[in-house]
């Protein structure tokens, strides 16, 4: 009897979120796979019957180039984020407590700031009339006719800018718990500072590094706003193509086909990490927590 009541309780507490996420997350995701095999109708909807033409059309070199670029941009952005996030997280974790709280808050604030506004801020300073361009030209570092905006460099720069806080927070969470006497011990045993850092500190925060890679790499695969606002025709990513198929020529099945490519690209690193970690999945909140 008690067991039955417990079962009932579990059922009623689980049902609302389970039902909602099945209806608005699982089914729509499955639908993307199904509708990609439907033809498009001329009114921007989904036609009747089945076709594999859309999926075959994805082998177009144009799409392959864009898929490749998406991976490349995400890879470089993740690498730069890690290079900046590790020293920053380390410095914040080792700062005296008062200053640590201030630094942490300074890292968190951009995290709460509107994504669009942060991207827009870069658009206006990289603009030909903007501050950075003028400063660089004034210092003689770039040619007045050069373009800082609407290229791959701008896309990577702004991607790093928008995702860096997400990389810093999980690494900070681990760096704060790290036992720094281990570093001292390594030094006493004759390791040089960088050696101690690489062989003792980095392995000690490995889990957080993996988290940081995932929270930067996966969202940048799905990047859309950044290449849309600061990128040009030569720096389009998968997200732009999906959006164009939806908003420009309203071909939903083709947008679905491109989304499948993106889903596969996202699954690859996730499954890789899961395979590496074995079956350690436990019910616990993510390190760092917060916004996506």
């Amino acid at each position: 009897m008690k067991n039955l009541r417990r079962r009932g309780q579990e059922f009623f507490l689980t049902l609302p979120s389970f039902f909602w996420l099945s209806l608005f997350f699982l089914i729509p995701t499955a639908l993307v796979f199904i509708l990609a095999f439907r033809p498009a109708d001329p009114f921007g909807g989904i036609g009747r019957g089945w076709t594999t033409a859309t999926i075959e059309g994805l082998a177009d070199p144009q799409y392959l180039a864009i898929a490749w670029r998406t991976l490349w941009v995400s890879f470089l952005s993740t690498a730069f984020c890690l290079l900046l996030a590790v020293p920053t997280a380390y410095a914040v974790a080792r700062a005296p407590e008062r200053r640590r709280n201030l630094l942490l808050m300074l890292v968190i604030v951009p995290f709460w700031t509107s994504f669009l506004i942060r991207v827009f801020a870069w658009k206006s300073i990289l603009h030909p009339e903007g501050l950075i361009k003028k400063t660089l030209v004034f210092c003689g570092l770039v040619d007045p006719s050069s373009q800082l905006l609407y290229n791959l460099g701008a896309v990577i720069l702004v991607t790093v800018y928008t995702f860096l806080p997400f990389a810093i927070l999980p690494i900070y969470a681990a760096a704060e718990k790290f036992d720094y006497r281990l570093l001292e011990a390594a030094r006493d045993l004759g390791a040089r500072p960088f050696q101690a850092f690489r062989k003792v500190f980095l392995p000690g925060i490995r889990q957080a590094l993996v988290t940081a890679v995932l929270v930067v790499f996966i969202p940048s695969l799905g990047s859309y706003i950044v290449p849309d606002i600061v990128g040009g025709p030569g720096s389009e990513m998968l997200g732009n193509k999906i959006a164009q198929r939806v908003f420009v020529d309203r071909n939903l099945p083709l947008a679905g086909g491109l989304s499948i490519v993106l889903i596969l690209a996202v699954l690859a690193p996730l499954l890789g990490v899961l395979a590496l970690q074995g079956k350690k999945a436990r019910i616990q909140p993510p390190e760092g927590g917060g916004k996506p």
Binding site: T14, S17, F24, L35, A121
Partner: protein
């Protein structure tokens, strides 16, 4: 042991990198010049213009209405979910439930946007405020559930048991003991849901219909159509709002709130 200065130098540069663009944007919003880069004197004219743009006020109202409903619904669904995950953590069913809660967090926004759009089109649902609310609740549930779950995990349940021993019914113990103790966690989760909803552009853009323009969609079309000084002014106002929110939440956290997720 002498510590390397290098990490502190990088941190300094990172902070400059974080704040310089925002600072320039704020300064430019008071610039009389139409283009940034050259200072033509202090002026509030862009703010005055902003107040005479009815489209912005409609968008702001839509955003607020959506965010309030989304916060309420996702708090409800996320909290029940966290309670289930916590209380029945050994159940196999909860493992599936946990995966279902966790997965939306790792799915890029654009995928959620396109899949919801396809579902709404396939089901013949009219796009508008309603579809935006459904979409926002979908991504907010996970955040609420995980923040509340984090709160529940360092929670002293003997207090609830004590209430039961003293004769409180299950419901009374939940309402009079559990919920008040959970309140700071709920406040933190609500704040996150509210911010996520107000800030979301990508998913909203996919599922929005005529007459349901939100503030981020408005800002996006202004960026696309080059109303630069107006966006500077609007952004400055929104930034001021964000900074105030963060300050308030920090204050709350000093008194024990907003430690969700830790």
């Amino acid at each position: 042991m002498k510590r390397s200065r290098f990490p502190f130098i990088v941190t300094g540069l990172v902070l400059v990198f974080f704040y310089l663009p925002i600072l320039i944007l704020v300064v430019d919003s008071f610039n009389a010049s139409r283009f940034g880069g050259a200072w033509r004197g202090f002026s509030l004219k862009w703010y005055v213009r902003l107040f005479h743009e009815p489209a912005i006020w409609t968008a702001a109202r839509n955003t607020l209405v959506i965010a309030l409903i989304v916060t309420f619904v996702s708090l409800l669904l996320g909290t029940t979910s966290a309670l289930a995950l916590h209380r029945f953590s050994k159940s196999r069913f909860q493992r599936v439930h946990y995966t279902l809660i966790y997965t939306p967090l790792v799915v890029p926004e654009i995928l959620m946007g396109i899949s919801l759009l396809m579902a709404f089109v396939a089901a013949g649902v009219k796009l508008g405020m309603g579809t935006i609310i459904l979409a926002h609740v979908t991504f907010c549930i996970s955040y609420v559930a995980l923040v509340v779950l984090g709160r529940l995990q360092d929670f002293d349940f003997t207090v609830v048991e004590a209430a039961r021993d003293l004769g409180a019914t299950g419901w009374t113990a939940t309402r009079r003991v559990l919920l008040p103790m959970l309140a700071p966690g709920l406040a933190a989760a609500g704040l996150i849901a509210f911010t996520l909803s107000v800030d979301d552009f990508v998913i909203t853009f996919f599922v929005a219909g005529p007459g349901s323009t939100t503030l981020p969609i408005r800002v996006y079309s202004m960026i696309k159509h080059g109303a630069t000084p107006l966006i500077n002014a609007l952004s400055t106002l929104l930034l001021a709002l964000t900074f105030t929110t963060v300050l308030v939440s920090q204050r709350l956290s000093k008194s024990g709130a907003l430690e969700g997720g830790q």
